[in-house]
């Protein structure tokens, strides 16, 4: 699912770069107004993706990436399959035990339905097996680890998210909300974020370094790096097409190589 955020970032970045390079002010302004948020410094800031900055008591800003609806639905499906699997195992083993078994099975079914997510969120640091498989984590929206109350609340309110059928309210709410919160998250003050991926040394298949132009912001650098990281999933033609947008700025005949060399510089490899 990480491809989704990258795509989106790149798509939003492109017109902004384009517009500013060609001094197309109306378009640049249009892009700005679309992506404008008040950043933690209080000044308008370009927001290229859904990255969220939270200020902590230490004065640091926590960079959090809220997880979108797609990843969350997939995590839910994985959890649902696991829960069904566990229920089936219990069903088969309790089936031999008559009424007593049925009673126990009903209790286990109840616990799995309501408390399976709560258990993992509270005692496994906000990560259910399904969320783990997609690299997601639930936290309080002030960045602290989730506790019992908010966890139970967000999982009970699943019922409201489910209404009127098939999680329609939840889906609509989280698509509309800039942090992809469903109703339960809104009430409980919780947030599903991407876990920090272990930073791997990506191989950009290009030798040499190149300095990043000094006026590139951190977000723009990030976009360059992400382009280099995902380039092995793009055809050479598509790489050319995307990178050529930056060509006027880079003064080079091969912008793809130039961007990858900048990426080399950023991660500190030769």
């Amino acid at each position: 699912m990480s491809g989704y955020t990258v795509d989106r970032q790149w798509v939003i970045l492109l017109p902004i770069c384009q517009a500013s390079f060609y001094k197309n002010l109306p378009l640049a302004q249009a892009c700005l107004s679309r992506a404008c948020v008040i950043s933690d410094t209080g000044s308008p800031d370009l927001r290229l993706d859904t990255r969220l900055s939270l200020e902590t008591p230490e004065g640091a800003t926590l960079p959090l990436i809220p997880a979108g609806i797609g990843a969350r639905i997939m995590a839910f499906v994985v959890d649902f399959l696991i829960r069904s699997g566990i229920s089936l195992i219990f069903f088969l083993s309790f089936a031999l035990m008559g009424y007593f078994g049925t009673g126990m099975f009903l209790i286990i079914l109840f616990l799995l339905e309501w408390f399976y997510p709560v258990y993992f969120e509270v005692w496994r640091h906000g990560v259910t097996p399904g969320k783990k498989s997609l690299g997601l984590r639930v936290i309080n929206d002030d960045g602290t680890p989730i506790t019992f109350g908010p966890s139970l609340l967000r999982n009970l309110l699943r019922v409201a998210d489910f209404l009127p059928f098939m999680y329609l309210f939840g889906v609509v709410t989280s698509v509309v909300n800039p942090q992809f919160k469903r109703l339960g998250d809104l009430a409980a003050g919780t947030l599903v974020v991407y876990d920090a991926k272990p930073l791997t040394m990506a191989n950009f298949e290009v030798k040499g370094r190149r300095n990043v132009p000094a006026d590139f912001t951190t977000d723009e650098q990030r976009a360059l790096l992400m382009f280099a990281e995902r380039s092995n999933r793009l055809t050479p033609e598509r790489q050319q097409e995307l990178a050529s947008i930056l060509a006027p700025l880079l003064h080079t005949h091969d912008p793809v190589v130039a961007i990858k060399q900048m990426a080399n510089t950023m991660v500190g490899r030769q």
């Binding site: 126990m104 079914l109 602290t144 019992f148 609340l153 920090a196």
Partner: protein, 325 residues
């Protein structure tokens, strides 16, 4: 300062912090006391470095690397280890009844929403017995009659103990599920909670009215008297908690709707802890005691009344003297 210089100077700091984090997250070998005393200082340092790298537009790679360390450090530092048992006991003895008294506006409202329809339907069915079919379908009415028909009654324990366990499981999953739904659907502007309260009231009233009409009163009321004090009160509290959520959205006062909702929800969920506890007790009584026919009806009524008195006294009196924060 160039990024290269910066990295050369501070690399050891973030290396140390990242090692410490790895140890803490693994949870197997707790780090030494000295390492722990360094944690806060290191964390502040990392926060500072992260801010510097952002401010100086160092490469996004370094910014994101330090950003991840800040998040992980924040998660470790602000972890809350709560002593569960003392909290649980305190909740039972003082916090829960205090909370119920504090929110009694909602509780009384929900009480009315459950019991007035109950009474209304009970009287209506006594007056026009066929009205029972407007709320309960004919098949379910037959079931009810079978369940409480004195002719089917056996002396002693009415069911085998294995059946009791079956019913216990059923009451747990069904009743607590109903309470959860009554609560959660209140988020939709309180509509869901109000609907479920009234619906349950009608249903209960119709069943009671019908069974009174066919004169199965003794079997029915001796069965329900034991657990209804806990069960009905819990449903009322669940409904009240749901209405509180919805009311916060409808009438947020001086706050934004979202803030009002968050505050209301933090209180409402604590009411739900109590609801869960009460319904487990109710399910236990209902499965293992209510079905027991060894006791005379008179004894059952007395025991049931004592339980009602207990529940009411608990909410009125418990936690009164405890003025702790």
């Amino acid at each position: 300062m160039k990024q290269g210089q910066f990295e050369a100077i501070h690399q050891s700091t973030w290396k140390k912090f990242s090692d410490l984090l790895n140890e803490l997250e693994a949870e197997k070998n707790t780090p030494s006391a000295e390492a722990l005393t360094q944690f806060a200082a290191l964390y502040r340092k990392i926060c500072h470095l992260h801010g510097l790298t952002r401010d100086r537009h160092y490469s996004s790679y370094l910014v994101d690397y330090l950003g991840d360390l800040v998040i992980r450090g924040h998660q470790q530092l602000y972890q809350r280890k709560q002593p569960l048992l003392p909290l649980f006991l305190r909740f039972l003895v003082s916090d829960f009844p205090q909370l119920v008294r504090q929110e009694q506006r909602y509780i009384w409202f929900a009480t009315g929403l459950l019991y007035l329809p109950t009474l209304l339907m009970f009287l209506l069915v006594l007056w026009q017995p066929d009205l029972v079919y407007t709320v309960i379908n004919p098949g379910a009415v037959d079931n009810l009659e079978n369940m409480y028909d004195p002719a089917n009654r056996t002396l002693g324990s009415a069911r085998e103990s294995a059946t009791n366990w079956h019913m216990f499981g059923f009451y747990i999953s069904n009743n607590i599920g109903v309470a959860f739904r009554t609560f959660a659907s209140g988020l939709i502007f309180a509509i869901g909670s109000i609907f479920f309260l009234i619906y349950n009231g009608f249903h209960f009233g119709a069943a009671a009215g019908h069974l009174t009409h066919v004169q199965f009163t003794e079997t029915f009321f001796t069965f329900v008297i034991g657990h209804c004090s806990f069960e009905l009160t819990a449903i009322v509290i669940a409904g009240a908690a749901g209405i509180k959520l919805g009311y916060a959205l409808l009438h947020p006062g001086n706050q934004t709707r979202l803030d009002a909702l968050k505050r209301a929800a933090a209180i409402a969920i604590r009411l739900m802890y109590g609801v869960i506890i009460m319904l487990v007790i109710a399910a236990f009584i209902e499965a293992f005691w209510s079905s027991n026919n060894v006791l005379q009806p008179g004894q059952k009524y007395i025991a049931g009344s004592v339980l009602w008195a207990l529940v009411i006294a608990y909410f009125m009196l418990s936690g009164r003297r405890n003025k702790s924060p």
